[in-house]
């Protein structure tokens, strides 16, 4: 078992408080960066660590930071993407509630590297409690002199503001997030210009995920080599996997990228109730699903890409044999139909079309021609729009048909859902959040 980057101390009491973080040498990395290193050295260190963005696209973080204009007189903004909306993903919430100072320290280091003096944390609207906890952590950091003017006696100043979203999935896309941050409609922007040139309020901006920032202090403290060695050749470090679905012990697990899906499932206690595994969604709902035969694939970005899926946000959804894949795809597509921002023609109309089509197949009204329609429609959508949302829609739609075509044909030939007798979709139950210390319930 390799070293843990983010979740090492989260099981301690009041792990979100600054005393606890300082006890484990917290804010030493940011102090060292601000006082002894130059911004370029920091970026080099992060580049060497092979840290890749943990939000879903897996873009090399050091590269992203180096795109920020160096000699520009413009104000620069650092934005933390805490709009964790991907179904099946709940890793950022863990960081914010259990280890927020790692993220804040990471942001301080990043702000120093890119020369930003203002940071925004765009947190999803539903994370009300988490936003309060984050505000608390920021005020603690501010009180301890880790945020504010002239940090650690240097010229560098940095402060963080929390901005709550209004509940749109698409605002997790970085340019839609920036639009939403500016108070506009949360619709992705045309690229180019990229946020590094024209971002928040027209200024150069750098947007990173919560987990990405939280990994940065470790890289500075322990060195890039050690971090890189934990992962594969192209992506370093560990990853938080939010494992949910039909699994014995669901939860967030920090594991190396080199782990395979089979190992991950076994690590979490195997499929719930000893049932047979049917499918796995390896990286949040938009990642194409993998069938039970494919689960020996490693969980790093490139291996999953090769297997026809993607590492995405690290939300692993385990699906056992009792699940009707058509119904599951149908539920996912309903989500996408509801969350498409509606800018691009294909995505707006296509997501609605697909949702209707899958519902019809599930209800027993499908024809074999519908399966071809799904393929051609997804072909029209994927890669043709401003943002990656259309690709995300086609993920579950295409992969479910490709991997479980027999089940679709069964629906079509029997003119009903073969699972309907003993399977009923139960709506989302409000999870208990009791016991989060230090937070008054509202």
């Amino acid at each position: 078992m390799s070293d843990l980057v983010i979740t090492k101390n989260i099981h301690e009491k009041d792990s979100f408080k600054i005393e606890n973080y300082l006890k484990h040498d917290g804010y030493k990395a940011s102090a060292r960066v601000c006082t002894t290193l130059t911004p370029d050295q920091v970026i080099d260190e992060v580049k060497k660590s092979n840290l890749r963005g943990r939000g879903g696209a897996g873009f090399p973080t050091g590269m992203k930071w180096s795109f920020m204009p160096k000699d520009s007189s413009k104000t620069k903004y650092l934005v933390c993407n805490a709009d964790e909306g991907e179904p099946g993903t709940f890793k950022d919430r863990l960081i914010i509630t259990r280890n927020p100072h790692a993220m804040i320290e990471g942001m301080i280091i990043a702000s120093y590297a890119i020369g930003a003096h203002v940071g925004y944390v765009y947190i999803r609207g539903e994370f009300f409690r988490e936003a309060r906890m984050l505000e608390f952590a920021i005020s603690e950091a501010r009180a301890n002199g880790h945020l504010g003017k002239n940090l650690y006696g240097t010229q560098h100043s940095f402060d963080i503001y929390v901005y709550r979203g209004a509940g749109a999935y698409i605002c997790g896309e970085e340019t839609a997030l920036l639009n939403s941050l500016e108070g506009k409609r949360g619709e992705p922007r045309l690229k180019p210009p990229f946020p590094a040139q024209v971002g928040a309020f027209g200024m150069p901006s750098c947007v990173n995920n919560v987990e990405t920032f939280a990994a940065v202090p470790y890289i500075i403290t322990e060195g890039a080599q050690k971090f890189a060695a934990m992962g594969t050749e192209k992506s370093g470090g560990t990853r938080l996997y939010g494992v949910s679905g039909h699994i014995e012990r669901p939860g967030v697990y920090e594991l190396p990228l080199t782990i395979s899906i089979r190992e991950l499932i076994n690590h979490c206690g195997g499929v719930r109730g000893g049932k047979k595994l049917k499918a796995v969604i390896p990286g949040g709902a938009s990642a194409p699903m993998l069938s039970a035969e494919d689960i020996d694939v490693k969980m790093d970005f490139d291996s999953l890409m090769k297997a026809g899926s993607m590492a995405g946000s690290g939300g692993v959804i385990v699906i056992d044999e009792t699940v009707c894949i058509v119904e599951m795809a149908c539920i996912l597509l309903k989500f996408y139909e509801h969350e498409s921002c509606g800018q691009c023609s294909q995505c707006r109309e296509g997501s609605h079309w697909l949702a209707q089509l899958f519902q019809r197949i599930e209800n027993g009204g499908g024809t074999m021609a519908d399966l071809d329609t799904i393929a051609s429609l997804c072909g029209n959508m994927a890669g043709q729009t401003i943002c990656a949302f259309a690709d995300a829609v086609t993920g579950p739609a295409l992969s479910s048909v490709r991997k479980f075509r027999a089940e679709f044909e069964q629906h079509i030939h029997q003119k009903c859902c073969p699972f309907k007798k003993d399977h009923k979709h139960i709506g989302h139950k409000a999870s208990s959040v009791q016991g989060v210390p230090g937070v008054t319930h509202v």
Binding site: A168, E339, G342, Q343, S345, E349, H352, L357, N380, Q384
Partner: protein
């Protein structure tokens, strides 16, 4: 002074761009312009151009279909219709937003591109009501055109179509009717109210497939003064111009270039008519005057031309009956003798007369009348062109006649406070736009030009009326409020006994 001749632009309105950057100054040490290949044709471009602008410059913009792109609005890049294949780019690029680079190789009609466009049209038509037989846009609809050109032969959509019950026939204002079911969500209208009129009175509500166009403020509704433009550039029949709804199928209409004479701006318009009956005015692109737009007041001003109360036959006063219809042969000798016998005559030229009419009438007047004077009269709230003010940041002017500046440039003086006192015979010449001075003091009144029944009856001393032609029925030259001379040709044939000034003068 040379004048700009208004003509129908070769391309449709949406293909004329004011986004084309000026060519850089050429000189001995000027760098050669970068080049790119567009469908095998090597074209030069100015650095900063997008692929769409390069195509516009090369006059092949019509090869690239578009919904959200409009040359007068900002770039949205959302309809995905203008995608083109760029060599070495992994994905298709939108022509409207991708900057051209030196040596770029672009194909606008490759197989990949056609497949993508077919996909877009297929998606757009999935929930489209396909009510073309009753849609006013049919025939000039970009969804129809592009479906015909790029769309799939048949749709595989068999589910229920999306319907917006509240916005299926919603009156956004007295002038515009919204049918959201037909909308392709290009948001040209939203950007128009945001950027051009700056009224923000149209917004999109909700997201995704439930996206619905609505007014920004329910109490105010749609209130900008350029609502007709919404219907012009709406690529489908979602926003229709109330005045034109269910009036005429567009393929019957003949479009001829002319000028709008409703105010001093002189917007270039295309007159759409069938059998010489005008059905609507639409703007012609002119970057110096009106760009892509015209105001609603101007758009509706065709009603004066087709007014059923307009006098289109010569009138002669019959004692006890007032002005009565007669023939030119009867009218001309009577008018001629009235003028010859007058002791002191006044010719009042409305500021809606063309330059040519003013010249001809001046010659005619000095030939026929020994003791006469000529004045001009505006009568729309101002007296001289210096009092004219712009009513907004776009086009609308305070001066509601088209040629005040032009008439002044001929050296004429305005009708002063004394009015017609001291003149026994007064000729009032106007084309329906200029006001009418008080002429009750004159013994004999001769009306000339475009008059309505009510206007004639309001005058008690009318001896004769010589019906003339409205602006759209004749050719001529106007000088607009910015001093731009614009000449125009006859757009429709006059449907009455009215004659051009030169023809009437010949009869004397």
């Amino acid at each position: 002074m040379s004048s700009y001749e208004i003509s129908k632009s070769e391309n449709y309105l949406n293909y004329c761009s004011d986004k084309i950057r000026p060519l850089p100054v050429t000189g001995p040490d000027a760098k050669p312009l970068p080049k790119m290949t567009l469908d095998g044709q090597v074209v030069e471009f100015v650095p900063g151009d997008t692929i769409m602008q390069v195509a516009e410059r090369a006059k092949v913009a019509s090869r690239i279909p578009r919904y959200c792109y409009h040359p007068g609005l900002s770039i949205a890049g959302t309809c995905r219709m203008c995608t083109v294949e760029v060599e070495k780019a992994p994905k298709l690029m939108t022509a409207c937003s991708t900057p051209a680079t030196d040596g770029m190789v672009v194909r606008t009609r490759s197989e990949k591109v056609l497949k993508s466009r077919s996909g877009v049209v297929d998606c757009l038509l999935a929930s489209h009501p396909l009510d073309c037989p009753v849609c006013d846009k049919a025939g000039e609809c970009e969804l129809q055109d592009y479906d015909y050109e790029y769309g799939p032969s048949r749709s595989s959509f068999v589910d229920e179509k999306r319907v917006f019950p509240k916005s299926s026939t919603r009156k956004l204002s007295d002038k515009i009717v919204l049918n959201m079911n037909r909308c392709v969500a290009c948001e040209r209208c939203v950007r128009f109210t945001d950027e051009v009129t700056k009224t923000n009175d149209l917004v999109m509500l909700n997201r995704g497939w439930k996206k619905e166009l609505t007014v920004g403020d329910e109490d105010k509704g749609l209130y900008n003064d350029y609502q007709g433009c919404l219907s012009d550039f709406c690529p489908v029949g979602a926003l229709t111009w109330s005045d034109f709804r269910f009036q005429k199928r567009v393929w019957f209409l003949r479009g001829n270039a002319s000028i709008c004479d409703r105010c001093a701006k002189g917007c270039n318009i295309e007159v759409h008519s069938e059998k010489e009956i005008i059905y609507r005015f639409v703007p012609i692109y002119n970057p110096k005057v009106n760009a892509h737009w015209i105001c609603d007041e101007g758009r509706l001003s065709y009603k004066m031309v087709t007014n059923s109360h307009r006098v289109i036959a010569p009138l002669l006063e019959v004692a006890g009956h007032g002005p009565t219809a007669t023939s030119w042969e009867t009218l001309i000798p009577v008018t001629a003798s009235l003028l010859k016998n007058s002791s002191r005559a006044l010719l009042v030229l409305g500021t809606d007369s063309t330059m040519e009419e003013c010249e001809n009438l001046r010659k005619f007047f000095s030939k026929f009348v020994q003791n006469g004077e000529i004045r001009y009269f505006n009568g729309t709230g101002i007296t001289t062109s210096s009092e004219n003010k712009a009513l907004d940041h776009l086009l609308r002017q305070n001066d509601k006649t088209p040629n005040t500046k032009g008439v002044e440039s001929l050296g004429l003086k305005p009708l002063d406070v004394a009015g017609v006192n001291g003149f026994d015979t007064v000729i009032l010449f106007r084309s329906g736009r200029a006001g009418i001075p008080s002429v009750a003091a004159a013994k004999n009144l001769i009306l000339w030009g475009v008059w309505s029944d009510e206007e004639v009856r309001a005058q008690k001393n009318v001896r004769a009326l010589l019906p003339g032609l409205a602006t759209q029925e004749k050719s001529g030259t106007f000088m607009n409020c910015d001093g731009i001379l614009q000449s125009f040709k006859k757009a429709v044939e006059h449907r009455g006994y009215g004659l051009d000034v030169t023809r009437i003068i010949e009869k004397f």
